[in-house]
Subunit: 209 residues, 2 copies
């Protein structure tokens, strides 16, 4: 990854992602968001990895009502939520021009706490993002569990997206050097399900694979 | 990932990682850090994905001297740099107990800008982290390129690490239900190198594989 982009990508206008579908696709493909806020107790930045799910024009983040971090986020502080996918190591003829291919979305705004009547659909969305089919297959969520869960939403109204794609960008005079250049693709894959010790003998359901 | 940890992991004391070696191993295995700071112009949090390299008791982050973000970071503001590896989706009998296995390190502190005499070793470390062997194989870095690169270090003196590992944690009364539980391991792998269009015919060097 080049570390020289500005907000709104003034340095690399070619790295801005304009397509709303690309943004939604990236958010749907990733499980972890890095949620940044200013910790009011110490007036310092804090970045925590959290699970999230996109639902239409919002993302949903959840945690325990007993979690200090969730309480802070629920206060409606300014957030910057960043989701990144690394796609390749980009090897140029020089260290200086080597880079990474990636896609990244930054979402800015204040979280809004969902009320009780809004929770059920949100919990379904969050569950289905993590494990498609589990909402229908699993033991139903209890009222107590729902009450113990704090869910916030952040709309996708203020979003900045960036990406680097494609070939290495070598200096013209470097291309004729007898040096290799190219990319090393990175892929994340889901392995075969591993049944829990206390679930031996239960067949793996079709939604798990 | 459960979203209910506090700083210093009061809620899940079992999720704290104490081993310095584990922290170094995680940092060395990951390419991207999420760097959080308070943007002084708008007094709001900002989280950007950046490449980084660990070198002993510090991490190194670099960018262009013309990058506004790097200039802000170089000012010595408080930073929170978070590095996360997602290892598995944890499927419990209930949505409520489903989770993710992950490891995460948060590094707190202020960045220090390296002076010219400190840059060479840092550039070697950053390059070797991204592409082992490229520092020796590639076209040498020029004085101009080095001068155009701003490098900061952040020591690993104030670090918080967390992890979730292992099996699903179902409620006792759920274990007897005829429902599957287990984990779906996630693996990131490096694919075969793809030679750049303008490097066809150049053999892939041994350090690339």
């Amino acid at each position: 990854m080049s570390n020289d982009e500005k907000f709104h990508v003034q340095r690399h206008a070619d790295r801005e992602v304009h397509d709303q579908l690309d943004i939604e696709k990236l958010l749907d493909s990733q499980y972890v968001a890095h949620v940044g806020f200013i910790d009011p107790d110490i007036n310092a930045p804090f970045v925590i990895p959290m699970g999230f799910a996109r639902d239409g024009n919002r993302i949903l983040i959840h945690g325990s009502t007993g979690s200090r971090m969730m309480m802070v986020i629920a206060k409606g502080l300014d957030l910057c939520v960043t989701v990144t996918q690394l796609n390749a190591i980009v090897v140029a003829r020089s260290a200086f021009n080597s880079s990474m291919n990636y896609e990244s979305v930054m979402i800015f705004g204040k979280a809004r706490v969902l009320n009780e009547s809004e929770k059920d659909i949100a919990l379904e969305r969050i569950t289905t993002k993590l494990v498609p089919g589990l909402w229908e297959y699993g033991r139903q969520m209890t009222k107590k569990e729902s009450a113990a869960t704090l869910i916030v939403e952040l709309t996708l109204d203020k979003v900045s997206a960036k990406a680097r794609t494609g070939e290495p960008s070598d200096d013209e005079e470097d291309v004729s050097l007898p040096l290799w250049a190219g990319i090393l693709p990175l892929t994340t894959s889901v392995g075969a399900p591993i049944t829990a010790k206390n679930a031996q003998g239960i067949p793996v359901p079709p939604h798990i694979g």
